[in-house]
Point group: C2
DNA sequence: TTGACATATTCCCATATAGGAATGTAATGT
DNA sequence: ACATTACATTCCTATATGGGAATATGTCAA
């Protein structure tokens, strides 16, 4: 079997770095495609294709305005990723704790027991 | 150009759902490959290959013990994903706020101005 | 040494890319 | 109607995939 499609879910869609950039760029304001092209330094068809992927998994919303199309990030669609990563939060806190404790025991070594 | 390698970063590595399952499974305890195989219902070479991808981006750590290898999730490596998604948190909160306000204005419609 | 066990690696193949180039389509102004 | 602007879509190709099957590697036990 091949790799799952980029359009299969948000995890696959955001694996591409340019798509992450686009999502950040569109997070605060609506933008037309031309603005995204200018900001990303990609050519227009590439941007349109990335937007197509993002649209197909609900990561962006479009609105037509004359001959322009206004895209905006749909932050809600990023929540599942946030929540998945959050399940590991307590573990990396434990790991940091261990690192910290080891560092402190280097600075203030405990006397050998006995 | 083709899609970036699954081994190129954590974003690409976790795009595969079985790898996400493995990471969850290995989050709390060390496990040997055989246990992962049993838990995932994949066959052994597939699991080894997934572990190889996860290892190459630092998402898991291995320790050898006799003929076994003990894998464990390195939660620290998931933090960058968490932090990236976190940049959108305030936006989805705004969006929810707007949805909430619209729902409330349906229940308690404002009188038309003028 | 030989065999059994645990895991990794290699080879195979259908499939999906991302970008580049070219072309299609829809809306506007004149 | 026609040219122009703003996007989307299609075609192309090198490349990486994930699973299955087979095989290699490494470790222990007798």
């Amino acid at each position: 079997m091949a790799r799952a499609a980029t359009t299969s879910d948000a995890f696959n869609a955001v694996a591409e770095p340019r798509r992450r950039e686009i999502l950040v760029f569109l997070a605060s304001d609506e933008r037309q495609v031309g603005e995204i092209v200018a900001a990303m330094g990609l050519d227009q068809p590439s941007v349109s294709k990335h937007l197509g992927v993002l649209r197909s998994v609900g990561l962006v919303r479009v609105r037509r305005n004359g001959r322009h199309r206004l895209y905006r990030t749909n932050a809600e669609a990023i929540r599942p990723l946030h929540e998945w990563t959050e399940t590991f939060e307590r573990f990396w806190q434990h790991q940091l704790q261990r690192v910290k404790e080891r560092a402190e025991s280097q600075m203030f070594p405990k006397p050998p027991s006995q």
